[in-house]
Symmetry: C2
Subunit: 211 residues, 2 copies
């Protein structure tokens, strides 16, 4: 079975420059992340494939799911077990056709209609959000809020990963909607101590809203 | 047999913004280009795949070779007949493995050693340069000059496409080295009348150095 993970950390080197992708992944995993998403939209392929390969090795060694954001070419190059495709990224049906059934494919959705489309397109899970206002994405859609998130969880028969503006404070309420898990960028990558930040988030996630 | 083309025009929307990729391709083909290379390093995949598809259709209709620069994911998405891979781009041997023997794969080289490696890696042709100083690439290597180009043509048993700083004035000398053809960016895309510029270059290329 495809292991999706409940606590996804997206590595980012645009919002912060103190840590490399690999360093962030190491810290996040040490803090309890069970899925790492390599989010790097551009850059020289040969170098990025090397970075992606290092991340994949680290994740394999740690028993953590590894997901490449957007780049189907890099996914193929390192034979990544997973790829995450946003609304503007490589089309999901075509990705499924090229990558086959075994590869974990995640889709992004911010509305019920987009979530339905991810399901129809053959995604294995949905990253739904932004649930709360976020500063991690310049072009982020308006926040969906918890009510819509709960509706999506109720209607769509796929694991839902909440994303967007998540903090240790709001994660308990997010988990109460019945989501499979959460994904964060800034809440780990941009914190003073990313490992400690991840540990905190993980603890709140584990409490399942009962703290 | 794979049709490589002798007069490659790389469409560019960073150096100039007056024309879209499709408009540039139309003008270049009208002026005599027989290969169009879609050079777009970043941007939303879903939109870029659409643009690449339109370019491919135009080229097919015009009997012109179509080549995607760098992006193996977009190449797969539109089933492009060709891809060009620079030194920092997706690795050629891996691209060959994924795309198969039928797809035209070009490699970039700026030294004899790089050209030898392209040959070993299984490229179908080599884009060699910059032959002359160029302003089209911010990170361009030092110009190779005509002597090295001639040596590469003599030693490497692949079609060589000269690139970098080419103008109607120097193309006759370039053709005398025995190259298969030439590739240009600014010399078409950044000229006042791209079609007329292409026509001029084509005429000089056809003269084969005898004008």
């Amino acid at each position: 079975m495809k292991k999706i993970g409940r606590f996804h950390v997206l590595t980012d080197t645009l919002l912060q420059t103190r840590f490399s992708h690999l360093e962030l992944a190491e810290l996040a995993i040490a803090g309890g992340a069970d899925a790492i998403q390599f989010r790097q939209k551009a850059g020289p392929s040969r170098e990025m494939i090397k970075v992606a390969g290092q991340l994949k090795d680290l994740c394999q060694k740690s028993g953590v799911t590894f997901i490449v954001n957007d780049r189907l070419d890099w996914t193929l190059a390192i034979q990544s077990e997973g790829i995450h495709l946003g609304q503007e990224d490589f089309p999901i049906p075509l990705a499924r056709k090229i990558l086959g059934e075994k590869v974990l494919i995640g889709g992004s959705a911010g509305t019920l209609e987009e979530a339905r489309k991810c399901l129809r397109d053959g995604a294995d899970y949905i990253g739904f959000g932004p649930v709360f206002p976020t500063t991690s994405k310049a072009d982020a859609a308006p926040a969906s809020g918890l009510d819509l998130l709960e509706r999506v969880v109720g209607e769509i028969s796929l694991p839902i990963i909440a994303i967007g503006g998540l903090t240790p404070e709001n994660i308990p309420r997010v988990m109460q909607t019945g989501v499979h898990g959460v994904a964060v960028i800034s809440a780990v990558c941009c914190q003073k101590d990313p490992r400690e930040a991840a540990r905190n988030l993980r603890r709140m996630l584990e409490s399942g809203g009962h703290v």
